[in-house]
């Protein structure tokens, strides 16, 4: 009995939770964490399919991890720079582009 089906189900649930967090929260840092959660759900899909089909899927997880690390570093730097200007990370008050 393979673990592919349950893995894909867990991955789908985690991804949906990440989307829910992005839609629900207003704290920019928590939204960034929810994006990390979504990336991890995708990693689980890659690993499950790598186990079921061929090992190449695991190599993509490397690339996803590298992109996630770069994204976290740059994203947090942007949040820091925004905080210096506005003294908040609440997305309600970061609305310069709002008409």
């Amino acid at each position: 009995m393979t673990l592919l089906g349950p893995s894909l189900a867990v991955s789908a649930i985690l991804f949906a939770l990440g989307v829910f967090g992005v839609l629900l929260r207003r704290n920019a840092i928590v939204i960034l964490m929810c994006v990390e959660l979504m990336l991890n759900a995708v990693n689980l899909t890659f690993v499950a399919l790598a186990e079921a089909r061929c090992v190449a899927g695991q190599i993509f997880v490397f690339f996803v991890m590298a992109v996630a690390a770069a994204e976290a570093a740059v994203g947090l730097a942007i949040i820091l720079a925004t905080y210096r200007h506005r003294q908040t990370v609440d997305l309600r008050y970061i609305n310069l582009l709002k008409g």
Binding site: N40, L44, A68, A69, R84
Partner: protein, 176 residues
């Protein structure tokens, strides 16, 4: 017939889902980050059960070790730890979030119907053997394709990381 692997898988999958839910719904950003660490550790355990031991180690080192420490460091630098006014959206945002995320979940779960997965194989020309046929350890099985078929993406990753380092320093520094 439930063997140990499936039992462990179920346990860690449940832990991952519960802690991810807590991460999404906790008001305090520090609590949220710590619940996310629990999720990442559970995912590392799932990786071990899925025969990806090296990625499990990387998951603990890179995600739970480095990225989450960065998040916690920024949360504490900005002094967001104390519970301020809630940052959850109101009932309209909540309803919309539940609706859209639920819709996405239904669609993603529909994708795993039997027969919907195409017969995936290695890309044409890729020297990727299935694990069982490779007859080598975990690291060589990953390293060989990484440095042959996927060499160009690997080198591009180093460029991406360099750009991210420079970008993060430029953005976060007060005065250059």
């Amino acid at each position: 017939m439930i063997d140990a692997t499936r039992l462990l898988f179920g346990g860690f999958a449940g832990l991952a889902i519960v802690s991810a839910t807590a991460c999404v719904t906790r008001r305090n950003p520090v609590a949220s980050a710590l619940w996310l660490v629990v999720t990442l550790f559970s995912l590392a355990a799932l990786f071990v059960l899925l025969d990806a031991q090296f990625l499990a180690v990387l998951q603990v080192l890179v995600y739970a070790g480095a990225i989450m420490v960065l998040f916690l460091f920024v949360i504490m630098l900005l002094n967001l730890g104390r519970g301020g006014p809630t940052d959850l959206k109101g009932p309209i945002g909540l309803g919309l979030g539940v609706l859209l995320a639920g819709l996405l979940l239904v669609q993603l779960l529909a994708l795993r119907q039997p027969g919907s997965l195409p017969a995936l194989g290695p890309a044409a020309g890729a020297v990727v053997a299935p694990r069982a046929a490779a007859g080598v350890g975990i690291i060589p099985a990953l390293a060989r394709p990484l440095f042959t078929a996927y060499l160009v993406p690997f080198e591009l990753t180093s460029l991406l990381l360099l750009a991210a380092i420079v970008g993060a320093v430029v953005l976060a520094k007060r005065k250059l």
